[in-house]
């Protein structure tokens, strides 16, 4: 996460170019996706987090895969719709995760 964030910030500051930011973003997003998967597993299989966290996390992973496929095939309207679905799923995941952590605290 820190690597991807640093890459984006270095891109804004023009310290690295767009192509290099693809590398930092590509490498940095892998642990984010892995973390989404882990929270889904912790919620749905281990019941350490509320089920909503798991379902939203799984929905985010699924819609991320579909956005990737749609953008490869260049399905413009579908890409935008799926992107909106991805942001909605991530939003639900963050709200569910935040409220679960608040309950724990």
């Amino acid at each position: 996460m820190a690597l991807a964030a640093a890459g984006q910030l270095l891109l804004i500051l023009r310290i690295i170019d767009l192509r290099t930011s693809f590398v930092t973003g590509g490498v940095g997003v892998v642990p984010v996706l892995a973390w989404l998967g882990v929270t889904a597993w912790l919620a749905l299989a281990q019941h350490l987090l509320p089920e909503a966290v798991g379902w939203f996390g799984a929905a985010a992973l699924g819609s991320a895969a579909l956005v990737t496929l749609a953008s490869i095939v260049k399905l413009d309207p579908a890409t935008w719709l799926l992107s909106a679905a991805l942001i909605s799923a991530l939003g639900g995941w963050l709200v569910a995760l935040g409220s679960a952590l608040l309950t724990r605290g």
Binding site: A5, Q46, I87
Partner: protein
Amino acid sequence: MADNSQAGFQRVELRWVWGVGQVVEPGRVLREQRYDGAADRRVATVMTTALLMRVACVSALLALLALLLAGIFLVLFFRRGEPYGSLNDFFSALALLLLILPAAAVYVVARATSACGCSSSPSQRSPAWRSPPPGSSC
């Protein structure tokens, strides 16, 4: 080895001179570290788990806000170009950074629950993610 010093923080004795393993451990965010000459020990002030959970909750909600702004700026970038692309990059980076604390908090919850054997099987649907009862090792 821990004693309460301030709300949300606790003082712990570092086991090693380097202290790195204990201090950098998620959920134990270092606030200050010093050598207690009288007791000949190295102590650190760290964030309690309860405070970490509250801060992580706020961080997750701020990440959501940053994510929404990043999405809006992405749409504006494709319609109008710069400077919305840079704004999208900035808020994406911010959202990613704000996710670090929730990740640490989830790690602490998972570790604490697995350490005390509170993990529930599918047949045992008690919400292990809720606050542990007083006196529980979780």
